[in-house]
């Protein structure tokens, strides 16, 4: 089967500091890939490169058989087929929840307001947020804000979802509600790439876990293998620290 997303030899440096050295990654349709690794290992940057929010220096990012990193590709068009959710939610604070969600469909896809709102309410209902439709984001809990951010990304009906440490900014008791939304998306068959520090979650939701270290994917395997029997010393060291911290 052709890969949904295929990343080849991706290199990215910021002001001479190399963040992604040489990354290769394949994601097939309906697959869930988790990216783990310490902060600064390049997880976040990789996701932003996939969404073309950060231009890569060299390499290929092939989505549905098209190299989207090639010149001449319209990034706005590419972004419509994938959604990204950020660590800090990044909701638009001056807009109600419903307007946060309908902005993309209305302005990008030209869907009339009524129709966009109807769809948005449907999504909000599905994620148990309908009563927040007319609230401003600042008045919601972190977990609610992050769920709204997920709904906003889903409103464009993407075929690929990218999650960038979406629970790292949440109070511990709010983490589960967000993770459950992602579990629900897996059940629905969404293709996802998830950067996370929640190892327990990665273990049960991922089909494939990638350990990033210093800008390369050092090791990738099914979760039971990567967590149960890591091959690389760096992976072993990283996981040991997680275990020592009581997080796995």
């Amino acid at each position: 089967m052709m890969a949904k997303l295929s990343i080849r030899n991706v290199v990215k440096a910021f002001d001479g500091k190399v963040v992604l050295r040489d990354v290769d990654l394949d994601v097939s349709t309906h697959e869930v890939v988790c990216l783990i690794g310490s902060s600064g290992s390049g997880k976040s940057t990789l996701l932003k490169c996939i969404n073309l929010l950060v231009p890569i220096d060299s390499g290929e990012i092939v989505l549905d058989g098209v190299d989207i990193a090639a010149p001449g590709i319209n990034p706005n068009q590419v972004r419509q087929s994938m959604g990204i959710v950020f660590q800090a939610f990044n909701l638009f604070p001056h807009m109600k929840v419903i307007d946060n969600i309908t902005l993309g469909p209305r302005k990008v896809h030209g869907i009339p307001r009524d129709e966009a709102e109807e769809r948005a309410r449907g999504l909000l209902e599905r994620f148990d947020l309908l009563d927040k439709a007319d609230a401003y984001p600042g008045l919601l809990s972190g977990g609610e804000q992050q769920r709204v951010a997920i709904v906003r990304a889903l409103a464009a009906e993407p075929e690929l979802m990218l999650f960038d440490e979406v629970t790292s900014a949440l109070d511990p008791e709010l983490v589960a509600e967000v993770l459950n939304v992602i579990r629900g998306l897996k059940t629905a068959g969404m293709t996802m790439v998830i950067a996370t520090h929640e190892m327990g979650f990665a273990r049960d939701v991922a089909d494939n876990v990638c350990f990033l270290d210093d800008g390369v994917i050092l090791e990738q395997a099914a979760p039971k293998d990567l967590f149960g029997n890591p091959q690389q010393p760096r992976t072993q060291q990283f996981l040991q620290r997680i275990v020592d911290a009581g997080r796995l």
Binding site: K48, N51, L53, P75, N76, Q77, R79, Q80, G83, I84, F86, A88, N90, L91, F92, P93, H94, L103, G104, K107, V108, G138, R152, A153, A155, A156
Partner: protein
Amino acid sequence: MNSNSLEEVERRGPQALWPRRSPHSREEGARGALIAAASTVGVLGLMLWVVLASEAWPKVQRQFFSWFHFKESFPKVASGFWLDVKMFMVAEVLILGIALGIAMIRALRGPAFLPLRIIAVTYIDLIRGLPILLLILLMGFGIPSLQLPGVTNSPLFWGVTALVLSYSAYTAEVYRAGIESVHESQRMAARSIGLTQGQALRHVIVPQAIRNVIPALLNGFVSLQKDVALVFVLGVREGLREADIYNARTFNYTSYIAAAVLFLLVSVPVARFTDWYTDRDRRRKQAMSS
């Protein structure tokens, strides 16, 4: 600790262990207000007495504060001042729009927009580098001297145009500060849902930016509200010009005081409103982040 204070701890809880910060806060507040009032009256009274008791005062009063000349000059000055108000309102609307356009052009990224950005930056640099009075003279006298067909020679028109050009450059910088105060992650989130740069600016960045710079924009209002009087150098019969004409005729300066009173009547409330708004905005932000 003696038995008294132990009793107090029982009565008031652990707070009794610390000295009461203000045991009679209401009475103390009243006393404070009284002191403030007394000292204000005292200081102002002293200043007033020094001025009124001075030998020069009768002369000053005659030249600057003559009730007769005030009444005589006021109607003309007031009708001229109404023109100031109208100039201000027209100019301010234009400035707010043009400056926003310039600021948005400056905020566009990518090599394709470089020529536009260069034009915007050049405009801002040139205009801000010139004294506003020079610009008014240059345009108000210069352009009519060309006698271009189909182009108005109205000094009022060119004076206001010069003000708009000048203030737009400054106001564009105010907007730019606002645009830069909106966190980069907002731009990223806007782009991530497929919005173009322009859409992201218009729907996401600029609405937040404007909120952040409203106090600075209001400051600009106060400033422009006075600077419209500069077009008097072109002979436009606005408030200051009328006062000047009266003074030239009578050699009495009370007409200037009449103009001053009118300008203050407008600008002081705007200044107070700016402070009130800034204060309220800060309190709101604190409430949101707590």
